[in-house]
């Protein structure tokens, strides 16, 4: 096992819910609730889960764009959880983010070249001709033409705008790139282009991805390991192949069964869970999934399952079978 580039321990982020004229606190959003994982150099960890389960909050906490309520974030061995703005600055270079919406995240009044070059200029790493040459190289790396540097964001298609965002993230030669739904807004044929680009760049530069998406197939495709989140917690984490072949958490199983397979001869869709995800404001007690779980037992309402080793490199948070979850193979 390589040394972990990123290590997140017991990360928690709560938001108060206020109401009334006195803005009294009436509840707590458990956006992230005790999340731990590590990410190796050159590795891609996929983070999946339904809307509102806390994926983006994990991403933003890792980058210190939101302040965690508790827990620890270590980057390259150093605890960065409480570093001041200035102390954080050198680390900012090592971690970059690519967002879902390539429209909102680009300044419409700047040229594409200036957008990509800005981090280099801000960090005083290049200027003048040197800056221009480096930006041109970044454009080529992401499959854009250097003659497009003079164009403004609205002159690019959605896929091209995402390439601009990726080029900008690459500029500072980061070690970690957090991708928050980077292809969700793109058409399928364009999505494939961007996924391929991300894979190629990782092979060339060896950086790590924390890759967030709600599309399981996309996550499966790009990740080495996958973590499944439900209501602020990781319920299962395993190597990609292991997770998809032998999912152990009832929620992961339901999630996989819900994916419409692009093969008309394959087994038809079976909704394995009823109802909607409960609100993260005061989420269910015990196992947060117990309100929708087909296998819920009495103790699931009160006991919170820990994320435990279940063999085969699998970690599962489910009380079934002494904490190893439901074995899909025998079901």
């Amino acid at each position: 096992m390589t040394e972990a580039l990123l290590e997140v321990t017991d990360l928690t982020k709560h938001y108060p819910v206020r109401a009334g004229v006195l803005r009294r606190q009436v509840g707590t959003v458990h956006a992230v609730d005790g999340v731990s994982f590590s990410l190796g150099t050159g590795e891609t960890l996929g983070l999946v889960g339904e809307s509102g389960c806390g994926k983006s909050t994990v991403a933003r906490s890792v980058l210190r764009l939101v302040e965690p309520t508790s827990g620890q974030i270590r980057l390259e061995g150093e605890d960065i959880t409480h570093l001041s703005k200035t102390a954080l600055r050198p680390h900012r270079r090592s971690m970059q983010i690519v967002f879902q919406d390539p429209f909102a995240s680009l300044n419409p009044r700047m040229t594409a070249g200036d957008i990509v070059g800005e981090p280099l200029a801000v960090h005083g790493l290049a200027s003048g001709k040197e800056l221009e040459a480096r930006v041109a190289r970044l454009f080529e790396q992401v499959g854009l033409r250097p003659d497009q540097m003079q164009n403004f964001p609205h002159q690019f298609s959605g896929g091209q705008r995402q390439r601009i965002c990726i080029a900008r993230a690459l500029a500072l030669e980061p070690r970690l790139i957090v991708c928050d739904e980077p292809v969700s807004a793109l058409d399928v044929s364009i999505q494939a282009q961007v996924i391929n680009l991300l894979i190629d760049l990782q092979r060339q530069h060896g950086f790590s991805y924390l890759f967030i998406a709600h599309d399981l197939a996309v996550v499966a495709h790009i990740s080495h390991r996958v973590a499944v989140m439900y209501l602020g917690r990781i319920v299962e984490i395993a190597d990609k192949d292991e997770l998809f072949r032998n999912p152990r958490h009832p929620y992961t199983q339901a999630l996989l069964a819900s994916v419409p397979v692009a093969n008309p001869l394959a087994k038809k869709l079976v909704p394995l869970v009823d109802g909607d995800v409960p609100s993260p404001v005061n989420p269910p007690s015990g196992c947060a999934f117990h309100t929708r779980c087909r296998f819920a037992m009495e103790r699931c309402r009160t006991e919170r399952p820990a994320l435990l080793d279940a063999g085969d490199g699998h970690q599962v948070a489910c009380l079934l079978n002494e904490g190893t979850g439901r074995n899909n193979a025998v079901a």
Binding site: E50, D187, I199, A257, S258, P260, L269, P271
Partner: protein, 335 residues
């Protein structure tokens, strides 16, 4: 083979154009298709290819200006909808033909209780008392499996979750038992577990009520799991049509083939980690400046001289498998 009277919808040579600042373009060009009673026809394609404009054209809801239906016919149960005046169309819309949208709030009024909205929709078309219509409303909410339907009927849209709002919209669309339901990306905004619930619900109800369904989506997985027949659109045109099994087994158009190869699949065991996907190079062309010949030519690996000069006609390659490509016969071998 289908009996003629089984035909719910017969669209012939539909053409819808938009007049915009950057010029006139055909959002839907020469589109023909049919839907039988109880049948699901999927329309699939990338954003901007004309799926929603097709749906709005069938409903006669194309915003005018800037849009206008300039040709063709839309025959619903024997009546050409394009020949009706607006009053006659209002009697059909929401009654014999209904539509559900990606965003439920497009068709739900935020300040009217769910039940009352269904009551109004029903009373617009049927001569019923409020009480009778109210009973139908609760019955419809039960049919779409909303728990405690009588209580929910008294709630406002914002009091329901996203999945429930989608169910309420479906209840309203089906309240008059339409012959045809058009669903434009009905699950695109939903989480995958909710999507599975809603798709299963739509298909169950369709079977129960015998409704014809036009399901619009960009997701080939949804197509494979729901449709009997599929139309693939590219740049406003139908480029391929086939039964769902034939389409997935042997797509005839290079674009369809490219789309299928570019979607990642949940890994089969033994698949190498991080294999590159097959991508279709380039982007969808602007409708204002379409190439003269095949619109897909600039992105097509198989393109030859002829493709750039002449638009390929839709030809039948056997068993109702249509494709508009000069090289359709070779696609399976070459691509």
């Amino acid at each position: 083979m289908a009996n003629k009277s089984d035909l719910v919808l017969d669209v012939k040579n539909l053409k819808t154009v938009f007049f915009t600042n950057s010029g006139l373009f055909k959002a839907v060009d020469d589109l023909s298709f049919t839907v039988k009673r109880g049948e699901t026809l999927a329309i699939v394609g990338e954003s901007g290819c004309g799926k929603s404009v097709t749906a709005l054209s069938l409903m006669r809801l194309v915003p005018d200006p800037p849009g206008r239906i300039v040709g063709g016919s839309v025959t619903l149960e024997g009546t050409d909808l394009l020949a009706l005046d607006e009053a006659q169309m209002r009697a059909v819309r929401g009654n014999r033909i209904s539509m559900i949208f990606q965003e439920p709030m497009t068709s739900l009024n935020p300040v009217i209780r769910i039940g009352d909205q269904i009551v109004e929709a029903v009373r617009l078309h049927r001569n019923l008392s409020r009480k009778e219509a109210g009973e139908i409303a609760v019955e419809m909410l039960r049919l779409v499996r909303i728990p405690e339907p009588a209580r929910r009927a008294r709630e406002y849209p914002h009091q329901l979750s996203g999945g429930m709002r989608q169910r309420a919209m479906i209840a309203m669309a089906l309240a008059c038992r339409p012959a045809l339901l058009i669903a434009d990306e009905p699950t695109t905004a939903l989480d995958v577990t909710i999507q599975a619930q809603i798709l299963a619900l739509i298909l169950d109800l369709q079977r129960e009520l015998g409704t014809g369904l036009v399901l619009i989506t960009h997701d080939l997985g949804v197509v494979a799991q729901t449709a009997q027949r599929v139309i693939v659109m590219y740049a406003g045109r139908k480029v391929e049509e086939a039964g769902v099994e034939a389409l997935f087994a042997a797509p005839k158009h290079p674009y369809t083939r490219g789309l299928m190869a570019s979607i990642p699949a949940v890994p089969a065991s033994g698949a190498p980690a991080q294999a590159r996907l097959n991508e279709i190079p380039g982007t969808v062309p602007s409708l204002v400046r379409l190439p003269q010949g095949c619109a897909f030519a600039p992105r097509c690996k198989l393109a030859v001289k002829r493709c750039e000069a002449e638009y390929p006609p839709l030809a039948d390659w056997g068993g109702g498998h249509l494709a508009a490509c000069w090289r359709a016969e070779e696609v399976a071998e070459v691509a």
